[in-house]
């Protein structure tokens, strides 16, 4: 099933109030504004369906089944509802929906979850239908009350009107009455040409609280009598506690208890500093018998040994082996090694547990897969799932970190809570050190690429071997290891892509744009180097091979036009280009680079063109491109988590796992291709092209190809 095949089912959204289930009654202390985006409708919100509630004060609150961590679903989903409801943007609010894998399923996954840049793509029709349903119910209620035909009633900017009798009302007056009506079977959706909100730069709903400090994240949930817990983790993956001494830790003022949990040693305290100080005072001996003790360097040496072995076949068209035997070929043979990358969201992982009077538990966390968190916690706490309510909170970023099968973070947090008597609410938090050293990285990968150019200057054959961990824990081909390479957009007659899965004790995870984080870099630097070898312009060369790929070609042409490609480039600078499709969104980027003060690339400007189908909110799309460029650029320039000699994790905080900073951020210009295709996601697709575009510019500027990342390591080596 592709994203485009998804249609909302009646069951999925046409739910009356009876189907708004599982709404947690939060403890009173936590009841106010947990997201910092206030739900409207004081005192009561009338639910018109599982996604829309309307308050007597005319506010419309959208229940977002997707977590808001900066990528904009609160605003995006509210826009879709408001459009079909004919609401005024000023009356719109958004909160996280409760946890329910059926009602709030991501239609791409079949369960509730946020990821794969799917929020807008899978909610596009569902949320519009939710809005249209609510509108029809309000109109029917007004028609009955006013005793006029529903067909004569109009709705505009949140006002229900009957012109003939000169009557007008807001939504609130009819909210209660409308909520008791049967939803229409097939609400009529607008023709896109009649959109008034979709496609406009509506201000985001969550900006205000995120500017004045009132937005509440998991870390900010502070019920009375709260226990804080931190866990001492090993410095080797796969290590376990052999023995520990907590005598010094227990002497720290405020430390309440120390307990061993499967993940390490937990320190419980009355405040955060006491917990941290107590953890520092622990003395732990670790058992390394199952631990990863190879260094990154040793791992890389083992990875490249797989290049010559037969791998898992992802693509095999034409006959690469035969093509490589032709006479008079120019060959290019390249190996690239990619490091582990931590996601390093601003808010490290955390969760709050609060027991209710009936013994059920409320969990507050930045839940990207809330259903998994719920079932995982319920299992560890020995409760039936309905007795564990996962209340999704605004999260300080994720970039993939919070989307984990089996919820390993929740396993730790719940184990830490389960080890207490449950009499006090508990906050479990990771520090930055836990985060950088916590694994679930973008895996290490090694690519080998061989390409052949014939006497006429045509690329006739391309072979790519990819070695690394399977994020999906597959024994056979993992599509996320090869995506972007296996479906190479360039028309090359002989193409072979294979992969090798490697087993490590270092747990892998998807990282913003998943396979494209490395395949995009490998493919786009390799093709560029091939063009350079034959003296072909990198934009024209790509366009010639993208004849059957109009959307790739479209964003590439647009980015080149924005940058005035081929025009004068300032002295000492060079330009590079890349185009990558990920998650059905197409992004072309041109970058301008010089040699910076550290001897590393200084990126001055990025011109970015994106084709994501219908642009629901151009402001959010541009923001995601800007942010994706910064995130991708920082990683390519500066970032690696490395295992040192003996397998110990080297990096620990932002001083040695560098983030891009404002003085390193390029100026960014974004243009959106006008399109009537169904909308696709934008959270991830801005990331992949910037790295290869910079490497391409760097190679043309300095003559040095980038074969190892991050670039700063090569430069300083």
């Amino acid at each position: 099933m592709t994203l485009h095949d998804i249609t909302a089912t009646r069951r999925g959204f046409l739910a009356g109030s009876g189907l708004v289930i599982g709404v947690a009654i939060a403890p009173r202390i936590l009841a106010a504004a947990q997201t910092g985006v206030h739900a409207g409708g004081d005192p009561a919100l009338a639910p018109l369906n599982a996604f829309v509630k309307i308050g007597t004060d005319d506010t419309v609150t959208v229940l977002s089944k997707h977590i808001e961590f900066g990528q904009g679903p609160f605003t995006g989903l509210a826009t879709l509802v408001a459009e079909e409801l004919d609401a005024d943007w000023g009356q719109m609010r958004a909160v996280h929906s409760p946890t329910d894998n059926k009602v709030y399923a991501n239609l791409s996954f079949g369960l509730q979850g946020t990821g794969g840049s799917s929020s807008i793509a899978n909610a596009y029709e569902q949320m519009r239908k939710a809005g249209a349903t609510a509108r029809a119910m309000l109109v029917a209620a007004a028609a009955e009350e006013w005793n006029v035909p529903a067909s004569e009633i109009t709705v505009q900017k949140g006002r229900i009107q009957h012109a003939a009798s000169n009557r007008e009302s807001g939504f609130g007056a009819f909210a209660e009455k409308a909520s008791r009506r049967t939803p229409p079977a097939e609400p009529k959706l607008k023709d896109p040409k009649d959109f008034v909100l979709i496609g406009t730069e509506l201000p985001k709903l969550d900006t205000h609280g995120k500017t004045n400090g009132t937005a509440i994240f998991t870390l900010d949930i502070t019920p009375d009598n709260l226990l804080i817990a931190v866990v001492a983790h090993p410095e080797h993956f796969g290590a376990t506690v052999k023995s520990f001494n907590d005598a010094e830790a227990r002497k720290i003022q405020g430390v309440v208890d120390v307990k061993q949990v499967p993940q390490g040693v937990a320190v419980y305290a009355d405040n955060t500093f006491a917990a941290l100080k107590g953890r520092d005072a622990l003395s732990i001996e670790w058992n390394l018998s199952q631990a990863e003790i190879r260094s990154s360097e040793e791992l890389a040496a083992e990875y490249v040994r797989h290049f010559g072995e037969p791998g898992l076949e992802a693509t095999n068209r034409g006959n690469v082996e035969e093509a490589f035997k032709a006479q008079g070929l120019q060959m290019l043979d390249v190996e690239i090694v990619f490091p582990f990358l931590a996601h390093a969201p601003m808010e490290p992982l955390d969760a709050v547990f609060v027991k209710a009077d009936d013994g059920s538990i409320d969990i507050y966390n930045g839940a990207q897969f809330p259903g998994f968190d719920q079932s995982t916690a319920a299992g560890i706490l020995g409760l039936d799932e309905p007795k564990v309510r996962v209340n999704t909170q605004l999260a300080g970023g994720s970039f993939g970190r919070k989307a984990q099968f089996g919820s390993p973070y929740m396993q730790e947090a719940a184990a830490v809570y389960a080890a207490t008597d449950g009499s006090r609410p508990l906050k479990h938090m990771w520090t930055r050190e836990d985060d950088i050293r916590g694994g679930y990285y973008r895996p290490m990968y090694a690519h080998r690429m061989r390409g052949a150019i014939n006497a006429e200057g045509q690329i006739t054959a391309w072979e790519q071997v990819i070695v690394g961990q399977s994020i999906m824990a597959k024994a056979d081909l993992d599509p996320t290891s090869v995506e972007g390479a296996s479906n190479l957009p360039y028309a090359i007659p002989n193409l072979k892509v294979t992969s090798h899965n490697v087993q490590l004790a270092v747990p892998p995870l998807w990282w913003r744009s998943v396979g494209h984080t490395h395949t995009g870099f490998a493919v786009e630097t390799f093709v560029d180097e091939l063009f350079q070898k034959i003296g072909r312009d990198p934009v024209e060369g790509r366009l010639a091979l993208l004849k059957d790929e109009p959307r790739h070609a479209g964003v590439l042409k647009k980015a080149a036009e924005m940058a005035n490609w081929g025009g004068q480039v300032p002295e000492g600078r060079s330009r590079g280009v890349a185009v990558v499709e990920s998650f059905n969104t197409y992004v072309g980027q041109v970058v301008e680079v010089s040699v910076g003060p550290e001897g590393a690339p200084r990126v001055h400007k990025v011109w970015c063109a994106v084709d994501c189908g219908v642009a629901v909110n151009p402001n959010v799309i541009k923001a995601q491109m800007e942010g994706g460029i910064g995130y991708g650029l920082g990683a390519v320039l500066f970032d690696a988590v490395t295992l040192g000699k003996g397998g110990r994790i080297v990096q620990s905080n932002f001083h040695d796992y560098r983030s891009i900073r404002i003085n390193e951020m390029p100026d960014v210009a974004v243009e959106i291709i006008k399109s009537s295709e169904k909308p696709t996601g934008v959270g991830e697709p801005g990331v992949p092209p910037v790295g290869p575009a910079v490497a391409n510019a760097w190679r043309r500027l300095t003559g040095a190809p980038v074969r190892q990342l991050p670039i700063v390591n090569i430069v300083s080596a």
């Binding site: 930055r432 800007e626 650029l633 920082g634 951020m665």
Partner: protein, 152 residues
């Protein structure tokens, strides 16, 4: 016992004198706008104003601030703060939002000291504040907008 003012109100703290100001503000004063991001003055998410100067609360022991005046995101006010918050909203700067209290506090301090900052001034004042969503492009534009809005 340490006595200081927090957003204009006199407060005392008699716990562990090593406790960083960040955790006093968050755990004891229950003001949660000031964030934890790194604990080692690398990210700026915990930026507050200490006697009018931007300061990383995560590495400031409470024992150091006897008699000092602490202002957090909840208490920041004045024309520079108003201009920054308005400019932030105008450009929808925040994405995840977690670092933005610190960004706003650093930006307000910059405008208080340099009413018309150049790009280099902005780099100097803001390079200590990490934003993993990389909203830097808009932060820079919003600071310029705020400075322009304060003219005249």
């Amino acid at each position: 016992m340490v006595t200081f003012t927090l957003n204009g109100q006199e407060r005392t703290f008699d716990g562990d004198p090593d406790t960083p100001l960040l955790w006093v503000i968050r755990d004891f004063e229950k003001l949660t706008g000031t964030k934890y991001g790194c604990g080692v003055a690398q990210c700026g998410a915990c930026t507050v104003h200490l006697d009018g100067m931007p300061r990383r609360a995560c590495v400031t022991p409470i024992s150091m601030i006897e008699g000092s005046d602490v202002v957090t995101i909840e208490g920041i006010s004045g024309k520079e703060a108003d201009a920054i918050k308005t400019a932030w909203a105008g450009l929808d700067v925040p994405q995840c939002g977690y670092c933005q209290s610190g960004q706003v506090m650093s930006a307000v301090a910059l405008l208080q000291m340099v009413p018309k900052p150049t790009d280099a001034d902005i780099d100097g004042a803001m390079a200590g504040n990490i934003c993993r969503c990389a909203t830097y492009h808009r932060i820079r534009a919003a600071i310029h907008n705020a400075a322009n809005s304060m003219e005249g």
